[in-house]
Amino acid sequence: MSVGTFGDYGGQYVPEALMPAVEELADAYERYVLENEDGFVDELRRHLRDFGGRPTPLQRAAALSERYGHDVYLKREDLLHGGAHKLNNALGQVLLAQYMGKERIVAETGAGQHGTATAMACAYLDVDCEIYMGRTDINRQRPNVFRMRTHDAAVNAVDAGSGTLKEAINATLRDWATNVEDTHYVIGSVVGPHPFPSMVRDFQAVISEEAREQAIEQIGDLPEAVVACAGGGSNTMGSFANFLEDESVALYAVEAGGDAITVEEETGVAPHSASLSAGEDGVLHGARTKLLQTEEGQVVESHSVSAGLDYAGVGPELAHLVDQGRVEPVHVDDDAALTAFHRLSQDEGIIPALESSHAIAYLEDADFDGPVVVTLSGRGDKDLDTVIEESERRDVAAAPSMGVFTE
C-alpha cells in the first residue's frame, strides 16, 4: 500500500533498487526526527543555533509597511549561515545520514543554494559530498559553484535536457541508485518519495515555529497572512507548517510566473514554473504531485529568471493543501520579481534572493489590511550577475544603471 500520502499526492514511485533505502530512511526519520532517538533533535537544534545562527529575526520592514499601508514583517532566513533557509534541511539530513552510518552524501542543486548548504554541512560534519548541477544553472550561478568547491565538494555538471534542476535530480537519483548502500541523497526540497516531503518539511518548520512565536511577541497577535515563494516548496512548507492550524492566517504560495502562464506545446517549454497554478496531476521524481507536462505526460522544461524556482514539479503536500483550499497559489512574473529585488535593495538595504523577490513582489498585487509575514528565504548576492543583465535587457523600472561599470 502507498505510504506517505497527502490526499491523492505523495507516495513512493521509485525504482526497486531504491525502495530499501527509502524504507530505511523512513524508519530513521520516524526514530530520530519524530521520536528524538539518541537525542538527534537536540543535537540538530544545537548545530542550528551555534553553527547556523538561529533564531533568525522577524524584522518589521518600515519602507514596505509605509508603501503598502499595512505592517510587513520579513522572516530573515537570508541571515542564516550560508545566506539561505536551505541550511535547515541540509544540516538535518547530513546529520541524519551520520546517525544512519552513511559515509557519502549526494545532492542536486538548482540555484546552488541547496548545494552550497549541503557542501557546508558536510564540511562542518566531515562527510564526503558530491553535488549535481545542470550546466545552465552552473553558468548562471557561478558564485555558488565556487562556494561548493571551496567547501571541497565535487560538483558534476549535468548536460541533459535544459541543464536545470529537473535534470540534476535525475542524475542524482541515478548516482543514489548506483551507490545506495553507503550513500544518502540529500533532497533539497519537499519533493521526492516518502519520507522526503514530510522530513524536509519538519526540518524547515523551524521557520514558522520561530515566526509564529516572534509574531505573537512582537505584534501581539498572529499575522493576517504569510507569504512565501514556491519552487519545489521547502521554504513554503517551512513558512506555513506551524500556521496550518491557525485558520485566521491566510497562506500564499507565490510561484514563478516567468514570462507568461502558458505551455508552448510545439517546443514543450513552459515559460514559467507555476506548477501549483497551472500544473496537472502526474508522477515525477518519486511522488504523485502537480506537474508542468504536455497532454501526453512528458514533463516540460520550465522557466524562471530565478534558478531556484525553475522546477516543473512541486511538493505533494503543497499540492494537497492547494486542493483543500488552505493554501492559495498565486504567481508573479519575472519583471515584477526583478522590480521587487531592486525595491527591497534600495528601500530596506537588503538584497533578496530572486526566489524571495517573488514573494516581495506579490505584496504589490495583494490587498492586505493587517500585518503580513513574508519569508525572505535567502540573500541575493548569488543573483547579482543575472539581475544586472536581465534588468538592462528588460528595462526594469526600478533598476539603477550599471552600464557605466559593465561597458
Binding site: Q12, P15, E16, A17, L18, K166, L284, E296, V299
Partner: protein
C-alpha cells in the same frame, strides 16, 4: 497472447528479451529493427515507450529516448506502431508511470485497454514499486497483460517474496546496482540475486549490462530463465550503420550463449566469470 504468451516464450529454453526504443530514430525503422531482432532469435521484445525523465536508464538508453521524443513519438503513436508490427513474439512495453497515468487522465486502465487491443502482452514500469502498483495490476489482470516487476541487488528478503507473489509474465532480475548500460562482465550481484529468488512458477530474466553471448552463457548457467539486453542494441541503432543486420547478429550471438549454457548446465556446475 498476453501473460500466457510471455510465459510460453520462456518454455522452449532460455529466452532472449532484447530492448529497443520505439521511434528511435523513427517508427518505420523500429518496425524493421524489431523484425531483425526476432530473426536473430528474440523470444520476447521489450519496446520502450519514451518518457522525458528516464531515471532508471543510463546514458545510452536516455539518448535513444531523446531521439525518439525529438522524432515525435507519443503514447498513441506507440500503440499504432505496435499494432502495425508483423512479428510472432510477445511485446512488452517498458515505460514510466506518468505516461500511463496521463493517458487516462489519472486512470491507468485506458492505456492498458488500448495496449492490449494494440497487441501489447506485458508492461515493465521501473518507477512503480509493488506498493504503488495496485491500480495498474488490477487493470493488467482485467486485460490479461503481464506486469513485470524488478528485483534489485538491494531488494530485501521480504520484498522479494512480495514481488514474486505479485509479478506476472517474468521477474526481471537487475544484474547490478545503477542504471541500464552495457557492461563487459557479469556482476557477482547477479548470482546472489538469482540464488535468493525462491522457486516460483514465474520465470526469471536478468538484465542491466548484458551485452554478449559470453555474459548470457554465464547468466543462464547461474540459473536464469532468460536474459534482457538493451543498451547494446540501442548503441547499434545510434550508430546508424547496417543497423538491422547488426541487431540480428548480436541477438543471435546472445541467444546462442544462453542456449549453450542451458544444454551444458544440466551436467556441470556453472562456471562463474
Amino acid at each position: 497472447m498476453g501473460e500466457r504468451a510471455i510465459r510460453a516464450a520462456f518454455e522452449g529454453g532460455p529466452a532472449l528479451v532484447p530492448y529497443v526504443v520505439a521511434g528511435d530514430p523513427d517508427p518505420e525503422a523500429t518496425e524493421a529493427y524489431v523484425e531483425a531482432l526476432v530473426r536473430g532469435g528474440a523470444d520476447v521484445v521489450e519496446l520502450g515507450l519514451p518518457f522525458s525523465e528516464p531515471i532508471a536508464d543510463g546514458p545510452t538508453i536516455e539518448s535513444g529516448i531523446r531521439r525518439a521524443l525529438d522524432a515525435g513519438m507519443t503514447p498513441s503513436r506507440y500503440l499504432d506502431l505496435v499494432a502495425d508490427l508483423d512479428v510472432d513474439v510477445p511485446i512488452v512495453t517498458m515505460t514510466y508511470y506518468n505516461l500511463l497515468f496521463r493517458y487516462g487522465d489519472g486512470d491507468v486502465e485506458p492505456f492498458v485497454a488500448d495496449a492490449a487491443a494494440a497487441g501489447v502482452d506485458g508492461l515493465i514500469v521501473p518507477d512503480l514499486p509493488v506498493e504503488e502498483s495496485g491500480p495498474l495490476r488490477e487493470a493488467c489482470e482485467q486485460h490479461d497483460l503481464a506486469l513485470v516487476f524488478i528485483v534489485a541487488p538491494t531488494t530485501t528478503e521480504d520484498r522479494i517474496e512480495r514481488i514474486v507473489e505479485q509479478a506476472s509474465g517474468f521477474v526481471y532480475v537487475q544484474a547490478r546496482l545503477g542504471t541500464t548500460g552495457a557492461r563487459a562482465d557479469v556482476s557477482e550481484q547477479t548470482y546472489e540475486s538469482l540464488d535468493r529468488l525462491p522457486d516460483a512458477d514465474v520465470p526469471t530474466a536478468v538484465g542491466f549490462g548484458v551485452s554478449s553471448g559470453e555474459q548470457a552463457r554465464a547468466i543462464v548457467a547461474g540459473g536464469a530463465d532468460g536474459v534482457v539486453a538493451g543498451s547494446v542494441f540501442v548503441d547499434i541503432v545510434a550508430s546508424g550503420e547496417n543497423v538491422a543486420d547488426r541487431l540480428e547478429r548480436t541477438a543471435a550471438d546472445i541467444k546462442a550463449g544462453a542456449t549453450e549454457a542451458s544444454s551444458a548446465s544440466s551436467v556441470s556446475e556453472p562456471e562463474r566469470t
